[in-house]
Structures are given as structure tokens and as C-alpha cells.
Point group: C2
Chain length 433, copies 2
């Protein structure tokens, strides 16, 4: 039996979904007893050339052709962004259609609204493709790992910044140069802000942390730092210290108190996340029963994203056949609180430029002493034109104290700039060396 | 509402299941609307001291107390081995009870019989814990990744051999010494054959390959080599070549022709599997849409295994509440064939001991030439008492040809022994370096 699907959007992801749905039509029939058929595709411009040859699929510029078509049981949204995606999805749900979406912006900002609408109308919303591309993350967290309390999630979930930082590490390029190359290759957008300023990773972290920690995590709960200020010098110092710089998304749940951050961090070279390069994504999770887990794979791209979208469509079809909604309830514990500075103590990396004259290091050391932050190592480097560059690695210290010492340093006359303050990831546990 | 569960076996895994079910009782109620309660536990010896304090759970030595108890809706099997587990599970299914099992031996040998019995009686069998301990592997393959044709699975799925090989690599110990230490620490059994001869990994590969490739893979379809013959010398040569030795389980599907092997292999140090040490497991998968994925985590242990078992129990409870059976149908394509020697061409490592006199290397090279196998590198080493050790790395070559050259070498008078022939893993793709 055929099931009609409507597709919203026909860009990179939408084209992959059309292609993969065709390729797997008979397999999906074997698995579910239903044969998916994308009958209508909403586009803005009917004349624009398409990346995929359209056969059964009829293009339309009128959402009503899909939302008002009673034969269409499932709507797949690949437009991205908040509007018109939000309104279209809410209308599809109200019309009793199941929804599969790859839209991280929307789920991060309006997830609760969308999920409540789905529940009210007795249909499902699936969004595996919103985080981690092809990597199954959301369903394992929501289904396979439910016997755990998840205490930590930590990962590389933005391909653009990972490409840029991998490039800087491999070639010694600066940020601007690596960004320009990423843009030329299509890995970064013309306006790269949402990626390089950490917002995209923060949206994905909000989605993952909400599921993992049974909380309603909002974007503003997350402390976000981007990578624009990372220089070739930071990458080189990290290398000297046996580390690489990665943009990490980190969430922790300590007995109901959450801390959430996105930002560049130093990762020891023997840590599993140090080896996740280019457009790959990876997520480490720690469960109280399972221990440490890592999932790794392609975080973006037409077919990897389609793999997740069509996987969700298959789940919808299974449930249609069984006559149930399959959405596993998301637990939400209202008593979970976000501590803005509640990060576990770790070591921090700092790079300063200072006057190159006697006594400066003593004043810096005094500022650390006053803030009760002890230094593990100090590198003094590259004196030029009366300036020296100082790279400090602290001992383990709570986040608030590092902020205090950075403020104190900024107030010293001999300190010209505190360029960069980054946490240092602890070494991975014994199993991974 | 309470749901009664019966537990078969109360060893390491069973104790973990009791502990974790208790710890998560209220969370499971929030998730499913049902409160799990293990009411009866089958043990052989009622008097034996237990690793867990028993409260609600009543011990019994009579299986009928569980199988004949109409209140018990779900049976959890943690006895292991074929009998009596097989008979007890078949009787539980016939009595209309859902079954969750961690039993890889049973599923590998009798999976089809058990799954058919479950289908006939309208109940489910779940067995996530049978492979990879805490790592969700079976459900992601059966559910999340179904939009893919999986072409490759490759991993480290036996903790005992991984512990032994990690130890040999870290300390230079020989096999016997590392095994003795694994036994002393409880990582290896008194009779370690099933682990060190590769059978345990082969059983798990049979389970994974059956799911991934939609085939009925039997143990005898897999070419199995253990690690008893790996010496400290092999580990040291591998290190010189920039590699580590790992016991890999490898399956490939090339347009319906399957090749399946378990055995030690040389893995480049920058390959993600090279960093999976100790009791950790990892599985790489390649899907035609998703590309490369890796899942990593604890492969054994009381709580990690319980994490998978109780995760399955939660799924059963969700389905009980919905009034459906949730077992996603396993596709099985009867036209898939196993090619015993159908492995993709790779490089091979060989270690020989030979007479230490002029002309020997020429004869060896001639044997390679006759078999049309070209050598990438030759190390001649450690001459003593008229013997030399030769380590050869071949270029990429199909498996059959390597076997032919090894047979030809064994027939040479100057060759005393061909100690070890191991495939060399290709470098990982660009994303992971």
C-alpha cells in the first residue's frame, strides 16, 4: 500500500530525501508493509533548476497543496529556519499529519510548542536529523539509554567550525584564511556568524541536553563563545602542550543542577574527540549505568542528513501500520536548575600580551595568587617591539575564579590584552589512550 | 500500575539488573506508566551468597515458579549459554511472556528459532545486551539506520582479547603473561578458549551481520582466528610499522555477497579503532547514505550490561502500555551468499623464521613472485642460532593469494615456520586522523 508524503523544501537536504526515499522504496515496503511516495514538494521558485530529477513528485509553491491534501499522511520539513517552517509544521500537525524535520533552529527555539501540538493532535514529530547528521543520537538517548541517568554530554556538533579548526591545526593557517577556504568549499556560509560564533552548536546542545537531562534547556541557558578570536599562535601553543583546539559543546547534570557551555577548548591529543576532524561530529555521553559512550559520524551533507530523515520516516510508517503513535514521552523535570557558572573545575589556558620588562611576571603571578588560582605552567614567548606573549596553564579551578583572575589581569597596566581563555579537557579515562 | 518481571539467573549481570531496575523504578513509571517489579529470581543454589540484597525479589530454584506465574509478563534471561536458557526462553514465549536476554551464545546459535517462536506467540524478544554491552548497536541498526544499505561493519567486540592485546602493547608482555593477568583480574575465564580463540567475537559478529546485512549468518560462515599465536615480537614489529594489533570482527556485503572474519589484524595508530583499549568495545559501520559511523563504549560489566537489559525492558513496557508488539521485523533476504574467501584486497603482515644464510630471501621473494603477490617492505631481524626472523608487508592482495603464498613458503626447506599472517587495516578516511 502506498503512503503519500509531502516534502517542504527541495534544497540540499530535500533533494537527498527524494533520492533516498526512491532508492529504498521497496526495502521500506518490506520493513513496514507501506510504500512511501513523495507526491508533492513545496518550493519557493517553480522554475529553479533542481539537484534531483523529479518524477512522481509534483512541485508546488502553495503550501495548501500539501497541508490540505488528505492523502498526505506525513510531512517532511527541510526548509530550515524559524518561519515559515514553524507555521507550516504547526498547521501540518493540526491537520493530523505526522512530521519529520531536520530543523535544529526550530526545535531548539520552539521544541516544547511543537511537541505539545503534536501530542494534542495525536501525531508524532521526529527530528533525529536536527543534531549530528547521520549519527543516531536522539533516539538512542530517548530510547536505548533510558535506564541511565545521563550525567554528561560532550561533543563536536558543528561541522563548519570543526573544519576551520582542523584546517588551522593541519596547515598553520589563521582563522580568516581557514574560514575563506571553508566558504570557497561550501562548508561555511557567506555570513558564517551562526556557525563561528557557536550559536549553531548551542542550538544543538539545547536539544540534546533537554533530552539527556530531562529539562527544558533554552538557548540563553548556555554560555556561548565562538572561535573568531582563536589565532594560529593559540593552535601552535596548544600543539606544544600536546593538545588540539576544538569547539566543544558541553553539558553536565550534577544532581539536578545543570551547566551548559559551547566554546573552544584544548583537547589532549590522545582524547577520542581530538581525532574527530573535518565535517565529522562526535558525542560523548556518560550514564550512571552505561559509563562512557561515544557516537561518531558525518554531521552534515545531503545523504547523511537524508539517512536520518528517512530513518524517521520509516519509524512513522511502522507506527502508522501498528496504528499507534510512537513518540516516546520526553520526561521533563521542572526542578532542574541551570547554574550559569556551575562548570566542574578544570584547567584553563590563557594567552596574554604584556610589556616585556622585568617585574611583569611577578605582578601577573600576584594576581593569580590573590584570586587563589595556581599556575601549572607558564610559557614566555616571542618578545617583539617591547611586548612578550605569555601562555599560562592553570591548575584545576572553578569557572568563576578564572573569570576573576582574567578581570584582575586586564586591570594591570603591564597587561595589554588577555587574548584567549579556554578550558582544557581532562584526559579521557583509561579505556581510551 | 506494577508489572511483574521474572529474572532467570542472578550472577554478575542479573545482580546489576536487579539493582538498576530498583534504582530506576520511578523513572520508568514516569516514562511508561508502568512500574517494573522483579518478583521472582531463578537460581541454582538458594543458599549461595548474592552480590545484591534481595527485597521484593523471591529466590526460587524451580523455573515453573516463573514460567507458570500468570502475573509475570516479562522474563529476563541472564543465565547465558545454550541450555537451559534456550528451553526456558522458548517456554516463556509459549506462555505469552516477552523476553529480554543478554545471551549472545543463544542468539548466535538459535536466533531464528527464538525469533520465530516470539512471532508465533505474538510477543517480543529483545537482546541489545548480547553485543557490545552498554553500547546501543542492535536497535540503531534495526531502527535508526534502516534507510541505509549497510556495506561494512568492523569492530572490537570482545573485551577479554582486547584487554590482553592492550596489555601486550602497553607492557611488552607475552600472550601467556597477559592472559594470566586477565584471569587474575576476572577479565578472562579459567578456560579462556571461547574468548582467545575468537569464538565469542564470531558469535557477536553473526548477530550483528545478520541484522546489518539482512541475512541469516551462521557461526560456520565466519572465518575465525584467535590470538594465542600472537607474540611479543609481533606486537613490537607492529609498533615499528606504526600499528597496533587488535582482534577485529569484520563483515562486508558486496552486492549480496558476504565476507565475514574474526581475527587479529594490524591497525594503524591513527585509526579510531587503535584507541579502543582495555574492556572497551567499538563498532564502525558504513551505510550507503550515512557514510562511516562509529559507536564506542563499555563492552561488558555488571552495570553496563544491565543498562542495555533494562533499556530493553523499558521498551517492552512502552509496548505493553500501547498494546502492541514492538519488535521491528528483521528483513531476511534468502539470496545473500557467503563467500568464504571473499575479503576485499588488503595488505598482509607475515612473520617467518628462516635459515640465516645467503639466498634464502631470494627464494622467498621468488615464492611471492610466483603467487603474484608483491612485497611492500621486508624486515630481516634478530638472527640467532642460525635463524633469522623475516617480517613482510605485502601490497594489497586478495585473501586467497595470501593463503597460496603462505602455503608455498611453508613448503620451502629454508623456511622453518610461517608464524603469523594478519591483514592490515586500511587507513581511516580523512575525517579521522
Amino acid at each position: 500500500m502506498d503512503v503519500c508524503l509531502g516534502l517542504l523544501g527541495c534544497g540540499t537536504v530535500g533533494s537527498g530525501v527524494i533520492e533516498l526515499t526512491r532508492r529504498r522504496r521497496e526495502k521500506i515496503f518490506e520493513l513496514t508493509g507501506l510504500r512511501p511516495k513523495i507526491t508533492k514538494v513545496l518550493v519557493r521558485n517553480l522554475q529553479k533548476p533542481r539537484q534531483v530529477a523529479l518524477a512522481d513528485e509534483r512541485l508546488t509553491a502553495d503550501p495548501e497543496d500539501i497541508l490540505g491534501d488528505a492523502d498526505i499522511r506525513v510531512v517532511i520539513e527541510t526548509i530550515g529556519g524559524i518561519e515559515p517552517a514553524r507555521t507550516l509544521i504547526l498547521r501540518a500537525l493540526a491537520a493530523g499529519k505526522h512530521v519529520v524535520t531536520a530543523n535544529k533552529d526550530l526545535i531548539a527555539a520552539h521544541g516544547p510548542e511543537i511537541l505539545e501540538a503534536a501530542e494534542r493532535h495525536g501525531v508524532d514529530v521526529w527530528y533525529e536529523a536536527a543534531v549530528g547528521g547521520a549519527i543516531p543520537l536522539i533516539r538512542p538517548l530517548k530510547e536505548c539509554l533510558t535506564a541511565n541517568e545521563i550525567t554528561d554530554i560532550k561533543g563536536i556538533i558543528n561541522g563548519t567550525t570543526n573544519y576551520i579548526l582542523s584546517k588551522m591545526t593541519a596547515t598553520g593557517a589563521g582563522f580568516a584564511e581557514a574560514l575563506a577556504e571553508a566558504q570557497a568549499l561550501g562548508y561555511a556560509e557567506a555570513d558564517p556568524s551562526s556557525d563561528v560564533d557557536g550559536l549553531d552548536a548551542a542550538r544543538k546542545l539545547a536539544i540534546l541536553a533537554s533530552i539527556a537531562f530531562h529539562a527544558k534547556v533554552r538557548l540563553e541557558d548556555i554560555r556561548v563563545t565562538g572561535i573568531r578570536h582563536i589565532t594560529a599562535a593559540d593552535v601552535a601553543y596548544a600543539d606544544e602542550l600536546g593538545m588540539v583546539i576544538k569547539l566543544l559543546a558541553v553539558g553536565a547534570d550534577r544532581d539536578g543542577l545543570l551547566s551548559l557551555r559551547v566554546g573552544p577548548a584544548l583537547v589532549p591529543k590522545d582524547h577520542p574527540l581530538a581525532h574527530v576532524n573535518g565535517s565529522y561530529n562526535a558525542l560523548l555521553m556518560r550514564g550512571d549505568a552505561a559509563g562512557d559512550l561515544m557516537f561518531f559520524g558525518r554531521g552534515a551533507g545531503s545523504m547523511p542528513t537524508a539517512s536520518a530523515v528517512v530513518g524517521d520516516v520509516i519509524e512513522v510508517l511502522r507506527n502508522l501500520k501498528l496504528g499507534v503513535t510512537g513518540q516516546a514521552a520526553l520526561l521533563c523535570r521542572p526542578d532542574k536548575r541551570v547554574l550559569p557558572d556551575g562548570f566542574d573545575p578544570v584547567r584553563y589556558y590563557m594567552r596574554l600580551s604584556v610589556d616585556d620588562r622585568p617585574g611583569v611576571l611577578a605582578r601577573i603571578a600576584a594576581a593569580f595568587g590573590d584570586a587563589e588560582v595556581s599556575m601549572e605552567s607558564v610559557l614566555q614567548k616571542r618578545a617583539y617591539e617591547g611586548r612578550a606573549e605569555i601562555v599560562i596553564l592553570t591548575h584545576e579551578v572553578p569557572y568563576g575564579q578564572v573569570e576573576r583572575v582574567a578581570a584582575a589581569l586586564r586591570s594591570l597596566a603591564a597587561v595589554h590584552e588577555v587574548h584567549c581563555v579556554m578550558p582544557v579537557e581532562p584526559a579521557a579515562d583509561g579505556g581510551v589512550t
